[in-house]
Amino acid sequence: MNIIDFFSLTGSCFAILMLGSVSIRLNLWLYAIQTFFMALSTLSESFKFSNSELAIISLVIIIIKAFFIPIFLNFVIEKIKVKSDSGLIFPVPIGMHLGILFLGFSNLFTLEILKSLPEIHHSGNITAGISLLFTGMLFMLLRKIAVSQIIGFLTLENGIFLLGVSITHSMPLIIDLGVMLDILVAIMICGLFIFKISSSFEHIDVTQLNELTES
């Protein structure tokens, strides 16, 4: 296993740990660490292929996604005073085990993908990307607090980025930066809406936002 795969798989393991924790602040920390490892994996890939665009984008990820967004979301949860997010549907540990199961599935998917793409060697990177995608989706489905939904969305986006880095020779820089900017603005606006939800509904449980129905 080379260093690129090591970093990205470590990142996906931290994401799975996120599925097993109910404390929102711990989840934010785990999200930040996972993003940091993902950026490290991208950075080492940029050194390997001496690709300066990848280096720039990984530095931008470290600054915006691994530092700025967690700090902002931390500010949000301190303002609205929520601490934990117990899971929905089934208990939290089962969610984590599902995450581990999906990591296995992602490896199977990767092997299947690699059969048709003989030119790509980093199987670990692709596995980590698909696993992050699944983890993000599970997190969004299994949690009910609005902040958790945002963290799940960000994890999903990390997975898409990692998958993009591993199967393309990096997307064009300007598109990556544009995507990052969009995500940043979207997260800021989500934060604003969370303030509004907590002040007008006195909770931020999104499963209870069900007043608009067909009646």
Partner: protein
């Protein structure tokens, strides 16, 4: 370059104007309305020669391209936006008188955001690069969330949150799809590109499997934004909670943008994937059928039109599946005109009756005959009754389906259109006849029906003259 300038100079100027003036007044709104109409005239003057003369698409800068269908959509969007802006002047002045919770600063924010939203929608049609397209469509989501949240109520907040989260996640899948398409263009020895004009000429070098996955993810992602059936749940909420001009903008302009992205992708996909047409047509059919069944049992007046929008999205998706951009434009054109008229009218009706529930609204013909007649005319138009443009577009669509041997989709669509015709007209009948309630408020009929009259009249003209000409001339 001059095209891009002509598209964005005046809107930018009006944003600048609103921001720089120390106080926002009704006069500022009037000036912005005039500026948007001026923008429409400028666009007609600059873009019309391109529409008539040149045949090839015009590359502007790398990643930007304008072709005939894009020009038509740009003109349509500007027309609808100008109409919505003009109507919003009367709409909001009544809201302002009615309740004191709306302030001028709120209106200022609405005005700035809607112009930015308009700019982001215009650029969807000029983009050639799929990556830029994704960024722009995500931008339209972010900006239109501000429009949906205009009323600052609990319901508006819930609708905005649903809209924002569902569309963002959907669009994230479109990003995955875009990435996969980029990867598929890199594999077999050519340098990767996301430009549609480049990919169309390089189809033999694309990796088929990766492209297929990429296209399906993009279809799901942009389909969420367009409101295809299982992913439509945000659409009725957002359309019914936004103020009437914003609902009209969302329904008549934004849905076209998402479908246009699918059209661009389909122009590549139909060249290399064999069964893609039937997949898209079936998705469209199911959307039409589901929406027409939802239409039967509706309680809110704007939710009714939202489901009717979903039905029309299905029709447009079928036309995209048939790979007929002109037919798609025809459907979109007629739908946009009539649906914006319907949303604006429903806004007025809600102001008259002070309720958005269908059960509280009755006897409109006695209380406000002009509005009642307009409502009946435009609901006849949206359900595809003969003299209007929608009828022509739908009949062309159905005959094309028969020509290309899509028998089952043809039968399904015909049944669904009948169901929706009955459903919509039943609801509209209940609104128009009966006894009006006591607490209704009289509105100034002339101002409030000016824009809807214009839009319905345009649809009527389209039905009589342009449809045949356009279809025969362009095809």
């Amino acid at each position: 370059m001059s095209i891009i300038l002509s598209l964005c100079l005046i809107p930018l100027l009006s944003i600048f104007l609103i921001q720089i003036l120390p106080r926002y007044t009704w006069g500022t709104l009037k000036v912005t309305v005039l500026l948007i109409w001026l923008e429409f005239i400028v666009q007609v003057l600059t873009l019309y020669p391109l529409l008539v003369n040149k045949i090839a698409p015009i590359p502007v800068i790398d990643g930007f391209m304008v072709d005939k269908i894009a020009i038509l959509f740009i003109l349509l969007t500007t027309l609808i936006m100008a109409a919505c802006f003009s109507h919003s002047y009367w709409f909001f002045s009544h809201e302002f008188k009615k309740n004191n919770s709306i302030s001028l600063s709120q209106l200022r924010i609405f005005n700035v955001i809607s112009i930015m939203f308009y700019l982001s929608m215009i650029f969807v049609y000029c983009l050639d690069n799929l990556g830029y397209l994704w960024i722009d469509i995500e931008l339209t989501t972010i900006l239109s969330a501000g429009l949906v949240y205009f009323n600052r109520t609990k319901h508006a907040l819930e609708a905005t949150w649903k809209y924002f989260v569902i569309c963002s996640v959907g669009i994230a899948f479109a990003l995955l799809g875009t990435t996969l398409i980029y990867a598929s263009s890199q594999l077999h020895g050519c340098h990767g590109s996301l430009n549609v004009s480049y990919l169309i000429n390089q189809t033999q070098h694309l990796d088929l499997n990766l492209f297929k996955f990429g296209f399906i993810f993009c279809l799901l992602g942009y389909g969420t934004k367009a409101g295809i059936f299982p992913l439509h749940s945000w659409l009725p909420d957002a359309h019914s909670e936004a103020p009437a001009p914003a609902s009209a903008m969302l329904s008549a302009c934004l849905l076209n943008c998402a479908l246009f992205a699918i059209l661009r992708l389909n122009s590549i996909a139909c060249l290399i994937i064999a069964n893609m047409a039937s997949l898209i047509i079936w998705i469209g059919c199911i959307t039409i059928l589901a929406a027409s069944l939802f239409l039967l049992r509706q309680y809110g007046i704007k939710r009714l039109w939202a489901y009717s929008s979903i039905e029309n999205v299905g029709l447009m998706l079928v036309s995209i599946g048939l790979n007929q951009p002109w037919l798609f434009f025809l459907l979109a054109f007629n739908h946009s005109l009539v649906k914006s008229a319907l949303f604006l009218l429903s806004g007025n009706i809600m102001q008259i009756t002070n309720s958005k529930e269908l059960k509280d609204i009755s006897g409109l013909i006695e209380f406000s005959p002009v509005m009642a007649i307009l409502l009946v005319l435009s609901s006849l138009a949206i359900t595809g009754t003969p003299p209007f443009g929608n009828f022509m577009a739908e009949i062309i669509l159905l005959s094309q389906l028969l020509n290309l041997n899509f028998i089952y989709p043809f039968i399904l669509i015909a049944i669904a259109l009948t169901i929706s015709f009955i459903a919509v007209l039943t609801h509209v009948g209940k609104i128009t006849v009966g006894k009006p309630k006591i607490n209704y408020i009289q509105l100034n009929n002339f101002n409030y029906s000016l824009i809807p009259v214009l839009l319905v009249f345009l649809s009527l003209i389209a039905g009589f003259f342009f449809t045949n000409k356009l279809f025969i001339g362009m095809n």
